[in-house]
Symmetry: C2
DNA sequence: GTGAAAGCGCTAACAA
DNA sequence: TTGTTAGCGCTTTCAC
């Protein structure tokens, strides 16, 4: 016994530690440690006994201590930039699913789309020594991410970043699906609504599909605000040659367009057809019923974890890019 | 020097630790520690110098080590049971806001509504030694929560649990607001859709408001599925005395009701008025435009953190209950 | 402001 | 299986 005379018997009731379990169970502390890690070297009977005693006296392993001692956390950090978005949720579920399978813990950092919390959130995960950081739809600067990745592996999900492992869904193919669908329905004036700041695969896909169909691409810049898309749609519909179909860069925008069409008493899809992107759950509701491109979010999350694992195993390998194929979900906003 | 001859100069590039910063900056490790904690006892110039050196050599504090040594985490655990729900998001933002102010860290556990992850998530937070656990809209059994709270303080948000600190919005008042609004519009056959399993303040409020107006309460049990609410509404509308207004227990259900009304070609609000509860963002869209009861989610989150803090300071005090007042947001689903 | 010493609760390596 | 010995990287205390 080195230093155990000071055990407090009353008042504050300190949390039991491993030594307490060992003493109570009549075994060595080493054995308790092994038992809790499901490590070999403990007979099944002893393990059961230890766990039972531990449970009885209310022992809980101290994560900080064990991670510190083992010099490994086996934990992945996940940063949510738009918690509340279905896409984020689905991707996260995929991450959770795969992390369970591969026995990784998850540490969740919640940032927001303003970018104000980005730095703090990243710092937090690094201080917790996560082995890799997964970003769900981040808007962080590529340079910043590349800098980060020199210390801790970074995997970007849903958005491709040069020099950073990325798992994305093919935006070009998705946009092409959308356009081809509309072209197939006979539309010729198909406008695209897209945010400005990013060289976008979706925009490229839209343009190429339009050209391939012998049509003229017409792109209007919007922000990520639903109302902004609504205003843009209203404006478009007042032009000389108004669109007969609007393909919005994302479902929020598309729903904004539907709002505008509702206001202007135009019928969907007869007067104007609408296609979105992301296939949010709300887009499936009967009132909205928006045709949309699905990104396979769950699978994206799963692959993200696999990618992180690969990166952890081979820190110096060249950047990984995994691209999934999108799927068009057809609803009443295009087919009456 | 005790043991520093083994510093690896090549290959793997170990993460720098405090000693490295101290040596590089020409100060004691103690001082570095103080500097990083913004503790008194370091001149401003020295602090700057230390932080700068640390930054230069890429030092990051090890959270596990510091928490272990200091024997305190100053961290609150937050469990999300329905990430993706606006209500959850808003409550979380409130928690984040107040945690920042009070200088608490946040550790997020993500469970789901099935309850399968509940135990793991809680274990995780306890192993990380969070000082209290905040639950956002949990459906966990009260007995289980009371058991938990014997080890770690628990605060339940949006749902009142006996014997557990709870911060909620007055469900009875909310339901009364809804009913009074409908009564004021002249409705007399006002049906309520509510999930069965829980003695609910909303149901009580609905009943009492109905009785106060001299009307007969009519309650139909539903699940939390949107479609289930839709089916329930369809069924109700086929009855001998169909409702002229439906007050749903939550916005998802209310939106399901709107789906059903759309299908049956009934006009809203002329044929049937609809009121929901939670005021989700989607309910504000022009297409849906659902009148709904708002729970002050952000404020709820803030108060949750304050409550946790109070509980940590006084572990033995009797259970705290804080009740906020709801607000009715009137939209086109009741007022054409 | 400094430096030494002790220790947080655990894991790891090894001899018994 | 067991105990022992060493840390992990940090905070804390205290004499200087």
């Amino acid at each position: 016994m080195v230093c155990s005379l000071e055990t407090q018997e009353g008042s504050v009731a300190k949390r039991p530690i491993m030594d307490d379990v060992a003493r109570e169970a009549g075994v060595s502390r080493t054995l308790v440690s092994l038992a809790f890690r499901n490590a070999p070297g403990v007979s099944e009977a002893t393990r059961q006994h230890i766990l039972e005693v531990a449970n009885r006296i209310g022992y809980r392993r101290n994560m900080m201590a064990s991670q510190l001692a083992s010099l490994s956390t086996r934990t992945l950090g996940v940063i949510l930039f738009d918690m509340g978005n279905d896409l984020t949720t689905d991707v996260f579920r995929g991450i959770q699913d795969e992390a369970d399978k591969l026995d990784f813990g998850l540490l969740v950092g919640v940032s927001d789309s303003t970018g104000k919390r980005d730095k703090r959130t990243v710092e937090y995960l690094i201080e917790a020594r996560v082995e890799a950081i997964l970003l769900i739809s981040s808007a962080m600067a590529g340079s910043e991410l590349r800098a980060m990745s020199r210390t801790t592996p970074v995997v970007s999900l849903t958005r491709q970043v040069n020099g950073i492992d990325s798992v994305v869904c093919d935006g070009m193919a998705g946009a092409q699906l959308a356009v081809e669908h509309l072209v197939g329905l006979g539309h010729t004036r198909i406008d695209h609504l897209a945010p400005a700041w990013r060289p976008s695969h979706r925009v490229t896909g839209y343009e190429s599909a339009m050209r391939k169909a012998g049509l003229t691409p017409r792109i209007t810049e919007i922000t990520y605000e639903r109302d902004d898309a609504a205003r843009a749609a209203e404006w478009l519909l007042k032009q000389a040659e108004p669109p007969t179909a609007i393909f919005a860069n994302n479902d929020i925008a598309a729903q904004g367009v539907l709002d505008a069409l509702y206001e202007t008493r135009l019928r969907v899809p007869d007067d104007v057809a609408v296609v979105g992107y992301d296939n949010l759950r709300s887009s499936a509701s009967k009132l909205i019923s928006l045709t949309s491109v699905d990104q396979q979010a769950f699978r994206l999350g799963q692959l993200g974890v696999q990618t992180a694992q690969a990166r952890i195993a081979h820190p110096a390998a060249s950047p990984i890019l995994r691209v999934l194929s999108p799927e068009l979900v057809i609803r009443r906003s295009t087919v009456g």
